[in-house]
């Protein structure tokens, strides 16, 4: 499904796909379409959409609901390849986009009922970053003054994301956010300390909600709650019925309960036709609240159910292999297990992690250079992607002349050295902020200044950048100084040596940087985005500086500017803080690792790249990607088995299926992990049309022994197969 592979519809449809295309177009009949991944359900929906457009249905009266924005792109590409006079204009949306759009439109009618303090003013919709920022403003004083969360060892960004996650889960599952504490407490079987933390979490999210209502801030959870109220109103029903006559839902099983409630409601409103596609091995977005069990019930809510049984993608052998692994895990195989050995193209189990990576690089090189396989047909899938893995694979493949694309959502902005360097420039350009940051125990290290110089000045290597930074950023002064001026601590002789080492061409450029900063300090504070834009435009993108003729590096720059602009826009309107403090807060936000995000600008490059994909398993599955060859690496790692450590929230307990007050025990934990791993295996196999490479090492990247449950299940599956033979 990557690249161009599925951009156009097949010339010949399967029997089931043809039935979907021919499903009655008037009368409000609904169809529930189910099947394993690879049985052509999405293609059937796309063919249906094409058919509706070909016969002249108005595109804007068709609503296509997708669980993720990445899938929206795929539908758009199919529309692009249509042979119809009308080739677009369909509302292809995620539940959240739809909810947010509806709330923004109907705001004047619902704001006062929902308890917003200023219903007569427009709302400010928060991004994840700005929600975390406001949450931090609430949590930080409580941590400092009242010792909140002192029993937890947890990084700030993870604390904030779990608090926000609790609010979001309440909204998406559809329970009162004030019940978070009682639900978590009822399921907890450990120490009392944790109960205190749960209570503190409840207190923080309650304060956050009150703050949002008082300041017209609409975070994700409030958007969803507002939409739940909205769609029950008669005037909204009237709007929806006027607007939409056809509904298509892909990957129903990846939707959250409230989205499913809405789809169930929509089925009753639609007077044309509704078709819902359900993946039997899906529900991978459990950590985001997906409710596959509830989605399965839609077979009963629809007028008719149809199962796609024939594999369209030739994933028979990989699926059989997945079935065998599932059986070894003690789960139902769900698929036949015949001849699964064909699925495993090769295996590697060595002692050292680095050798494992070398083997992967060699095999990929063979596929590409000797067998003519396109790099985009190859995916390397790991339980999670560390910086070491990314670097080792990218470097190894580059030496073979093969590109790699990393799919790793939610990487903190600060992880990028260019971002860190630019923020250092922001700090250096605002001496007052620097002092305030230093009071908050953030001391700008000379290493950061060196990096900033290296990024800003063309042709300056790390060693010379460090040499320059030591001289230009004296410990006593903690700001950049004019090395040729009066405040310089160097003797003329030392100065001569310095410029000889660093380079005389750098001297002139360094001076230009200083002059620009001085000039910037004369202006009123405008915001990080404007500061950085001006810096880029008037200096850094000009000859001799780090971004001159560097479009790829400018992408990172652009992301930071975009993030800062969104922060300023969201926070400016509703905050009592002055502009100068706000912009300083942004720098802290990024440096603390809070700001992150997957930006729109990243998507086109991803789809256009002819590169090997490196992805964590869940990211691969939830984007519904597919590849000819998959390398499952680090099979011995516990990362395949463990779920993320989330001490303040719980994906299973905060769901509709877990009764309030029932303890969550080890037995439930064991079962849920098995099922999650079993679904991952099945999901990956269904998205592999060629062969799987099984790759592991006895020692992990940190030198510890690895013998994870996934590895053991695979070994058991292989043994069971050979015994049966």
């Amino acid at each position: 499904m990557r690249g161009q592979e599925l951009l156009s519809l097949p010339l010949k449809l399967t029997r089931e796909q043809q039935k979907v295309v021919e499903w009655p177009r008037e009368g409000g009949q609904s169809l529930f379409l189910s099947g394993l991944p690879g049985t052509g359900k999405s293609t059937a929906l796309m063919a249906r959409l094409a058919a509706l457009l070909r016969v002249g249905y108005r595109p804007y009266e068709i609503l296509v609901f997708l669980p993720q924005r990445a899938q929206v792109v795929r539908y758009e590409q199919v529309l692009a390849s249509l042979d119809a006079p009308i080739r677009g204009g369909v509302d292809c949306l995620t539940f959240y986009s739809f909810a947010k759009r509806s709330v923004a439109l109907f705001w004047p009618r619902i704001a006062s009922v929902l308890g917003f303090a200023h219903p007569e003013r427009e709302p400010t919709f928060l991004t994840l970053e700005t929600a975390q920022y406001y949450m931090w403003r609430i949590v930080e004083p409580l941590i400092r003054a009242e010792g909140y969360f002192s029993s937890l060892k947890i990084r700030r960004e993870r604390l904030l994301s779990q608090l926000i996650d609790n609010l979001n889960k309440a909204a998406l599952v559809g329970f009162d956010y004030k019940e978070v504490y009682s639900r978590l407490k009822g399921a907890w079987t450990g120490s009392l300390e944790r109960l205190h933390s749960y209570w503190q979490a409840q207190d923080c999210i309650t304060r956050f909600r009150e703050y949002c209502l008082a300041h017209n801030l609409v975070d994700f959870s409030l958007s969803v709650e507002a939409f739940q109220y909205l769609w029950k109103r008669e005037d909204y029903q009237q709007y929806f019925r006027t607007r939409y006559h056809h509904l298509l839902v892909d990957n129903l099983e990846e939707n959250v309960p409230v989205a499913l409630d809405f789809i169930r409601w929509a089925l009753e409103q639609i007077d044309g036709s509704s078709i819902l596609a359900y993946d039997l091995a899906g529900g991978h977005r459990i950590f985001l609240g997906a409710d596959a069990r509830y989605a399965a019930e839609f077979a009963n809510y629809c007028d008719c159910a149809l199962e796609c049984r024939d594999l369209v993608r030739p994933a028979g052998a990989p699926l059989a292999f997945a079935g065998a692994v599932r059986r070894a895990l003690g789960l139902s195989p769900l698929v036949g297990e015949t001849a699964f050995q064909e699925a495993v193209r090769a295996q590697y189990r060595g002692k050292y992690w680095v050798n494992m990576l070398d083997w992967v690089v060699e095999r990929i090189s063979q596929l590409v250079h000797e067998e003519g396989v396109s790099p985009r047909e190859i995916a390397v899938i790991a339980p999670y992607v560390s910086e070491v893995l990314r670097f080792a694979l990218e470097d190894g493949l580059a030496r073979k002349g093969i590109s790699m694309h990393l799919l790793r959502p939610s990487r903190p902005l600060r992880d990028d050295p260019i971002v860190r360097a630019l923020l250092t420039w922001v700090i250096l350009g605002h001496p007052a902020w620097r002092e305030a940051l230093e009071k908050g125990e953030y001391l700008l290290p000379v290493e950061d200044v060196a990096l900033a110089l290296q990024v800003a000045l063309a042709d300056l290597d790390p060693i010379r950048a460090r040499r320059l930074a030591r001289a230009a950023f004296p410990r006593e002064m903690r700001r950049l100084i004019d090395l040729d001026g009066q405040e310089s601590l160097l003797t003329p002789e030392e100065r001569g040596h310095l410029w000889e080492e660093v380079g005389y061409q750098i001297r002139r450029r360094y001076k230009a940087l200083l002059l620009w900063l001085e000039d910037a300090q004369q202006r009123d504070s405008e915001g990080v985005d404007i500061f950085l834009s001006r810096f880029f435009g008037s200096l850094l993108s000009t000859p001799g500086f780090g971004f001159y003729d560097q479009p790829e590096r400018a992408r990172v720059y652009g992301r930071l500017v975009e993030s800062a602009a969104k922060f300023r826009e969201a926070v400016r309107i509703s905050s009592e803080l002055d502009q100068d403090t706000l912009v300083r807060e942004y720098v802290r936000l990024v440096l603390d690792g809070i700001a992150s995000g997957e930006y729109v600008v990243d998507w086109p490059t991803f789809f256009a790249t002819d590169a090997v994909l490196l992805s964590p398993a869940y990211a691969y599955l939830t984007r519904d990607l597919a590849s000819h060859y998959q390398f499952w690496v680090d099979l011995g790692s516990d990362g395949w088995w463990n779920r993320p450590n989330q001490p303040l929230t719980h994906p299973y307990v905060l769901s509709r299926h877990w009764p309030v007050g029932r303890p969550w025990r080890d037995i439930e934990e064991e079962r849920s992990r098995k099922e999650a791993l079993g679904n991952v295996v099945l999901g990956l196999a269904a998205r592999c049309t060629g062969g799987i490479f099984l790759v592991s090492s006895e020692l992990g990247v940190d030198g510890t022994e690895q013998d994870g449950r996934f590895q053991r299940a695979i070994v058991r599956a292989m043994r069971m197969a050979s015994n049966e033979q």
Binding site: P59, A80, I530, S541, A565
Partner: protein
């Protein structure tokens, strides 16, 4: 091929191409961020965009019958309030065709092997009498001449797409070009409405022009997307340092208008992964 079949052209992208091929390449094909300010006062520029978007949002609400008086009264932006009062009281709502009315309506039609996208601020269509008017809300600081608007790519794209998609919009029957028109309404000059009629000859001419234009773009190798020769246009272009352009004076052109696209902005809002 740099531009794949099915590529979605819009009035914005075509207009950009006509002014500067390289800007088109960087902005619409390569999605190249080049984060330098396009205006000397970027905050003012952003306020201008935000005000325009809000005005469009208010008009969409009006279309769906959502009462706006409290929001308008509480709005601290006097210019926005003034625009609203003008559109409420001075715009000839009753004179528009009746039957189908749509706000912020996207239309995508085939254009050779490519696609052409338009988003009408407001469409009023009478399927019985087969007449239609596209309304475009303009928040420009000055009113362009009739001739400028007549030749504007937006006018040609909007009228062309309306005819090409008319059988779908009416639910069966096509509209004849001489039964449709485009109406520009200026929020800062509410009495200066400019109506652009259409004709079969203009439709044929536009079809030929637009098809030739996208064919030309589609056939062009990457290196052929040259920067504009009129360096005055670079004054408000973010890519000017990437193109190594020294700007001396600015042209009286309004790049600003390129940005006010309410719908595209909504689609670009990053989402949470839920």
């Amino acid at each position: 091929m740099l531009i794949e079949p099915g590529y979605l052209f819009s009035q914005h992208s075509l207009n950009t191409y006509v002014r500067c091929q390289r800007r088109f390449l960087l902005r619409y094909i390569e999605h190249q961020p080049w984060p330098m300010p396009e205006d000397e006062d970027p905050l003012d520029y952003q306020r201008h965009l935000a005000r325009g978007r809000m005005f469009h949002q208010w008009l969409v609400r009006r279309h769906w019958g959502i009462e706006m008086s409290e929001i308008v009264e509480a709005c601290e932006d006097s210019l926005l309030r003034q625009w609203w009062r003008a559109v409420e009281t001075l715009f000839p709502w009753d004179a528009l065709p009746d039957g189908i009315r749509e706000a912020e309506l996207p239309v995508v039609v085939s254009l050779g092997e490519y696609r052409l996208y338009a988003r009408y601020d407001y469409l009023a269509l009478d399927p019985q009498n087969k007449v239609a008017v596209i309304v475009d809300w303009k928040t420009l600081a000055s009113v362009p001449s009739y001739q400028v608007l007549r030749e504007r790519i937006q006018t040609r794209v909007y009228l062309y797409t309306l005819i090409a998609a008319s059988h779908v919009l009416t639910g069966g029957k096509s509209l004849a070009p001489d039964q449709v028109k485009m109406l520009y309404w200026f929020a800062n000059y509410p009495d200066d409405v400019i109506e652009i009629p259409y004709s079969e000859a203009a439709f044929q001419q536009d079809a030929h022009y637009l098809q030739s234009l996208v064919r030309e773009i589609g056939r062009r190798p990457r290196e052929a997307f040259a920067p504009t020769e009129d360096s005055r246009l670079c004054a408000h272009c973010q890519y000017r340092t990437l193109c190594h352009r020294e700007v001396i004076t600015s042209a009286e052109e309004d790049w600003l208008d390129e940005e006010i696209d309410f719908a595209l902005d909504l689609q670009d809002i990053p989402e949470l992964e839920y």
